[in-house]
Symmetry: C2
Subunit: 341 residues, 2 copies
């Protein structure tokens, strides 16, 4: 029930008048300050309700210098991972009473990153979460002269920034070891775009697992993006090679494309070739065959990033923060099996 006083939304002074107190007392009530008599507080609350009063955020920000707003920079919110992180971030922000504004990157170059940060700073965000797992973006962010606290999420534990990330290397190592355990002599790798830190780290993990076990390290197949299409195209190179009995893919979409390419060429999964993905997107369980993959909890990742950011706003620190790595788990399904004898 909003009663408009004189054609304009009610302000604190209106509330004060109705409640018969000073403006300052209204402010005290609104901010839960002590030294307000309960009876007075009640009168003020009543007046607020009666008038449908709503504090003016801009005025408050002007004097307190706090916007309670955080920015999220994201390259492609369309991907399952980034979208989930955004969701987790927003959830956590709500709990901590922050607003979230998003800035999508037009492209992945330095300039776009710079512009996005500028855009957010124009809006006076108190901190920024970057969902920007590409090396170029990370580099740009790290070199950004800015007094705004910044946390990068899901972009590799080795970034020169405060980061919250899944331990990609551990996940990749686990997946690769699992395939070796099944009896495969070696494991091939269908890599993600080399500009993404996650892709790089997964490759490192894969390579290490092979090295540790003394297996041959074949040349990885490198894709330009994370899509099923790319998986399919690289898969067509792979099908020719009868040597390949196990492939660790940098994500689930690539794995899907690969499986399709293998099947199109008459190679059976997992009987002739085992395939492992990464991410555990909701569909992965229903690929044909159900995909063995490395699960990461994007939601949790987003939440943790936000908590880290808020802590850093309080503390005022920035780069070089301790890194929080979440340990991913291997989910074994039907796309992997012992190699044919």
């Amino acid at each position: 029930m909003q009663i408009v006083v004189g054609d304009r939304a009610p302000v604190m002074a209106d509330v004060a008048r109705v409640a018969g107190v000073s403006q300052q007392t209204v402010s005290r009530v609104l901010n839960d300050r002590p030294n307000v008599r309960p009876a007075t507080r009640d009168r003020v609350m009543e007046a607020i309700r009666e008038l449908g009063y709503r504090p003016n955020a801009a005025a408050r920000t002007l004097v307190t210098r706090r916007t309670r707003t955080l920015g999220v920079i994201s390259f492609n919110t369309t991907l399952y991972g980034p979208a989930s992180m955004l969701y987790g971030i927003e959830q956590a922000a709500k709990q901590h009473d922050y607003f979230v504004t998003v800035a999508a990157l037009a492209a992945m170059d330095r300039r776009s990153v710079f512009e996005a940060v500028e855009r957010l700073r124009d809006q006076a965000v108190e901190g920024i979460v970057a969902i920007a797992p590409q090396t170029t973006a990370v580099g740009a962010l790290a070199n950004m002269p800015s007094d705004v606290p910044l946390v990068a999420v899901g972009c590799g534990v080795h970034a020169p920034l405060s980061t919250v990330a899944v331990d990609n290397e551990a996940g990749a190592e686990r997946a690769t070891s699992y395939l070796l355990d099944l009896g495969h002599r070696t494991v091939h790798h269908l890599a993600g775009p080399r500009t993404w830190l996650d892709a790089q780290e997964r490759e490192v993990g894969w390579r290490r697992a092979l090295t540790v076990r003394g297996a041959r390290v074949p040349e990885p197949f490198k894709g330009g993006d994370w899509s099923a299409r790319t998986g399919y195209e690289l898969g067509r190179q792979i099908v020719g090679d009868a040597d390949v009995t196990a492939v660790f893919c940098a994500n689930d979409h690539l794995a899907l494309g690969l499986i399709r390419a293998l099947q199109a060429a008459g190679r059976r999964v997992p009987e002739q070739v085992s395939v492992v993905g990464f991410d555990d997107i909701p569909d992965a369980e229903f690929f044909g065959p159900a995909l063995t993959t490395v699960r990461q909890d994007f939601d949790e990742l987003g939440r943790r990033a936000l908590v880290a950011l808020i802590r850093s706003i309080g503390g005022g620190r920035r780069a070089g923060e301790p890194v929080a790595a979440i340990d991913p788990s291997l989910v074994v399904r039907a796309s992997t099996a012992r190699p044919a004898p």
Copy 2:
């Protein structure tokens, strides 16, 4: 290069002092007002650069009463559709020089919707885009007493709100007709959650296509969500029925689950059963078999919603706006074929 004057970020007065003009002249330069001599403008610009001055958004908002901020309410940004729309919205907002803040819904009930709107109003957004295609959400939004312009996107052309949507009925009708054209006697339907308008409209379109062609209208299979898992579970009911030769699914994920269930039961797709999806998610082409589906351009949807909203902010109108429906197209791939003779 930010030079801090006396420990505080520079303000307009600092710029004025450095440029040797009044504060008002600085304001004029910043807002592209006429009647400033070019030489003066240059001096001011130089001072701005020198000081690293950045206008204070809160102060400006306080006096202009404009936040240049739009709110987006979204239930589950994790789904491909909503995530893409959000992306499109942000792109368009950037072009129109608006900020976008998001409010994810905790649950899909009236209260959550109400809270999200309140949250956005607290932040003084100038308009709201709701990506909330559920009937309950639409109902809640339509009844929300609020002076903030609101546009709902992707939530069915029949909503009592300004909407921008894909013509679900037309898409469903097209898919169903196509299957009938192939020679199927009838087409079964794997429906989406009945609380979503999109699901309802797709069912209506399917039903109409059958009716128009005089085909039998079988009872649709109804799912509780849009996931592949649900598609799989409903699929297990379907596999028993040898009568089923063609199924139109309310989205691609359901179709994936269904295909898996069919194949698990030894029924071949498309030889024994044809399957059609809806959305054309990027993976759809690489399902086994590649999925015939109805493509909708989520990105474009988001963009159009934003443009509609901005127009409505300018005009000041609200509900009952003309509806903009985008026509979806059928993409024929390998999951559909003539029925076995």
